[in-house]
Amino acid sequence: MLSARNIHKSYQDRVILNGVDVDIAPGQISCVIGPSGTGKTTLLRVLCQLEKEDAGEILVDGEQNTAPWPKVTAVFQSLFLWPHLTLRENIMLPARNHNPQADKDIEGLIKLFEMNHFIDHYPNQSSIGQRQRVALARALILNPKYVLLDEITSALDVEQTARILTKLTHLKERGIGVFLITHHLGFAKRAADQIIFMSDGKVTEQGPPAILQTPTTERLKQFMSLAEIGA
């Protein structure tokens, strides 16, 4: 279990996270939803120890670990592919450290993500959707136990988004815990095992996807009604 316990985080005087508790279980998809600026990305960065919490603790399988990578890994909205390496090299450079079967596994990932016709291109020669798949593949080849994804489908069209989100359900079957920040409420309803709704730096409501239909807090009710208007 990847757990955040009573996490507090501020930047100067601005409180970003105010006592957040979440658990991400292996083999489950936890979808984080909520308005912009409520600390979702900061929570992700604290969970994968890119930022130090001001108070509270992060436990990876019950233990504190200040460098849990790549057991806990992340894919960000901007992808962060290394631009001087081909897409294949982007995947293989870290993979060789952590996966003795990397040469074999990359072939499986190329098939799974349909990357064979662009895998030897450079990032700037590929579309956003292609880079998105490579960023995911780069994370998955490391055999992580937990994958944290920050709005990775925000720049994709409907078809590409559906494809990526379908792939995420495969991760669940492989026992990987997925922490996904998303604005796709439809996907959250269908695939998530746990919904975490954040507002004002706190987890306002969490539970099974059913909470999206029958929210108990006023804030989630309000968010869902606005989301319906926006959909």
């Binding site: 994968c48 890119l50 592919l81 290394w82 001087h84 870290p94 952590h98 700037n124």
Partner: protein
């Protein structure tokens, strides 16, 4: 008298001048690249108080014409301290100082603007510190700084001709002296121009090639 005749008659003098120019350039390039890079690293890695004087001096130097700086070190400073320094060393020192601060500016800019997201990606994918430096940071920074550094070094080679103004027997001064003897300015300065073109054009071309080759792959968008 053709260019070839001049070169064959006066080649010992030209070779001496050329060797002085090359020695001067090796000192300027070597010290500039080594000390300039070290200065830039110190400016980024060390506390602000270490980097600030270097930036301040660089800013100050940018406002002083090189020739004024060179003459100032050659005449008034030596008179003030009542010392006589070989003009070659004065020129080497002056041009090295100018080069090392220019190098430091280029390297510091590249280090400062290095996109942090590539380091974040290296961390979350579990790259070692060595891999992050040698496989990610260094190649990307080298791609960024090599073209301007090469162009700067070519500019410094051109600038080394100023050394002739304080009597350093480098190639331009040799050419001037030969011209004073035989008065064939067209042939002599054409030969000098061809020499500089032969040295500088390939370096400039290489710098431009590097720039177009590598900046293409640096954009993530």
């Amino acid at each position: 008298m053709t260019v070839w005749d001049i070169l064959s008659n006066y080649y010992p003098a030209f070779l001496t001048g050329l060797s002085v120019t090359l020695k001067l350039c090796l000192i300027i390039w070597g010290s500039g690249l080594l000390i300039g890079s070290a200065l830039a690293l110190a400016g980024i890695k060390c506390p602000r108080s270490v980097g600030l004087p270097s930036r301040g001096f660089s800013f100050f130097l940018g406002g002083v014409p090189l020739i004024v700086f060179l003459f100032w070190l050659h005449y008034p400073v030596q008179a003030m301290f009542d010392v006589v320094i070989d003009p070659f060393y004065t020129a080497a020192f002056t041009l090295s100082v100018v080069n090392l601060f220019a190098v430091a500016d280029i390297v510091r800019g590249a280090l400062h603007d290095f996109p942090k997201q590539y380091l974040i990606a290296a961390r979350v994918t579990g790259l070692t510190r060595g891999q992050t430096i040698f496989k990610i940071q260094l190649p990307l920074i080298l791609r960024e700084i090599l073209p301007p550094l090469l162009l700067l070094q070519v500019a410094m080679l051109h600038t080394s001709l100023f050394a002739s103004l304080i009597s350093v027997e480098e190639i331009f001064r040799v050419a001037q002296r030969i011209n004073a003897q035989i008065y064939r300015p067209v042939e002599i300065y054409t030969a000098l121009g061809v020499f500089f073109l032969a040295v500088c054009l390939p370096i400039n071309g290489f710098a431009l090639w590097l720039k177009s080759r590598f900046t293409r792959n640096l954009s993530e968008q």
